[in-house]
Symmetry: C2
Subunit: 211 residues, 2 copies
DNA sequence: ACCTGAACACCGTTCAAGT
DNA sequence: ACCTGAACACCGTTCAAGT
């Protein structure tokens, strides 16, 4: 590291996360990676939280680029799927879930894109605001929930889901008849599939308010 | 504390959270409250995570009691609103978001209730599973997102939302025209209102798959 | 102007030893 | 059988001092 800047710290932090996993990103470890005293970071970021948010925004680079122009639904659907993917790629970020507004450029472009497509589709600004918040809550919330398993590979995830299905199947059938009966159907597909299903149903519901 | 049990530890932990806030619940602080050595807790819980989950389940007591019988939608809607409220009442729990299956009784009753109402409504087990996961992702995910502000009172929350609207309004109107134009409409109502809207649109979409 | 390093006030968890 | 207490291996953050 020739020079310490916000950008260079973020870059190194992402390398550290890539190598050691996002739970292992501590101020001390990051200090080692940037070859400076850990506390030097506090010269560039007010807190670790602020650093994590900057990392989060870096991960969102390009999510609003080249989105489908076929329809507002397709565009927003693809954007939400990309946001989720970006969040799951850095599981530590998903735990940073928060209702605060975007303070960084990539985040701002997301808001702008969603509001613009909704506006063009015919939502007035009140309806667009409710729809925007609904989409973000589902997308970010779902990523937070799924992030616990995001570090496993797909075979491991499939194995874990199978275990969980067995747990349901082993419940007392008198008290939990539907859980036992439906156990084999729970956790269908991948977490991405389940998110896509939820997103599509939410978009159905939102589209229904237009007519 | 006359005797240390899982239940008595959970009860005391909830008292500590009530007094000091859920971020302040540490093993050491809880040890003080139960008037025992902090590490005695590890005799009853494998980890702090296991303790938090037990606390989480305690907070869900009664959520499946006396639900509306008017329709599957009304029943599930009310249940999701109660689950959200229970999670927001203990903000620490919302950060425990996870995709793992319920391992405690109150959680299990939630799954059973949702699957049962969906089944009665005509969803087959595959469709019911997708619908169940969609509802849970939105409900728990949204609670996680909103938990950061749950400890503030409603006046403080309203003030914070007003600030966030100003942030949007202050953006560059050339780059973010819709965000600036729609700023006054963002964060409409309370977080509960926005969740209810999202939940209703998701239920619209799910109901649409029945016909 | 920028960075260091000691220090503060904490964490969750383990395990040999006590009663 | 149950609990203690020392210890381990860490945290995020502040601030006077250095260069």
């Amino acid at each position: 590291m020739t020079r310490l800047t916000r950008d260079s710290i973020v870059t190194t932090a992402i390398e550290v996360i890539g190598k050691h996993g996002s739970e292992q990103l501590s101020v001390r470890r990051l200090g080692e990676a940037i070859d400076a005293d850990p506390t030097a970071i506090y010269r560039h970021f007010r807190s670790k939280d602020e650093l994590l948010r900057a990392i989060g925004d870096r991960c969102l680079i390009g999510v609003t680029d080249d989105l489908p122009t076929t329809s507002w639904r397709e565009c927003i659907r693809e954007l939400c799927i990309r946001i989720r993917a970006a969040n799951l790629a850095q599981p530590a970020l998903a735990t940073l879930v928060r209702g605060a507004p975007p303070r960084h450029d990539n985040e701002r472009r997301i808001t702008e894109t969603i509001l613009a497509r909704l506006g063009e589709a015919g939502f007035d600004s009140a309806a667009a605001a409710f729809a925007y918040h609904a989409l973000i809550e589902l997308t970010i919330g779902s990523a937070a929930i799924d992030s616990s398993l995001a570090s496993e590979d797909s075979a491991a995830r499939a194995r874990i889901y199978a275990e969980w299905r067995s747990d349901y199947a082993a419940l007392d059938a008198g008290m939990f008849p539907r859980s036992v009966g439906g156990a084999a159907s729970l956790y269908p597909g991948t977490a991405d599939d389940r998110f896509a299903y939820a997103l599509d149903r939410l978009l159905d519901g939102l589209a229904g308010t237009l007519s």
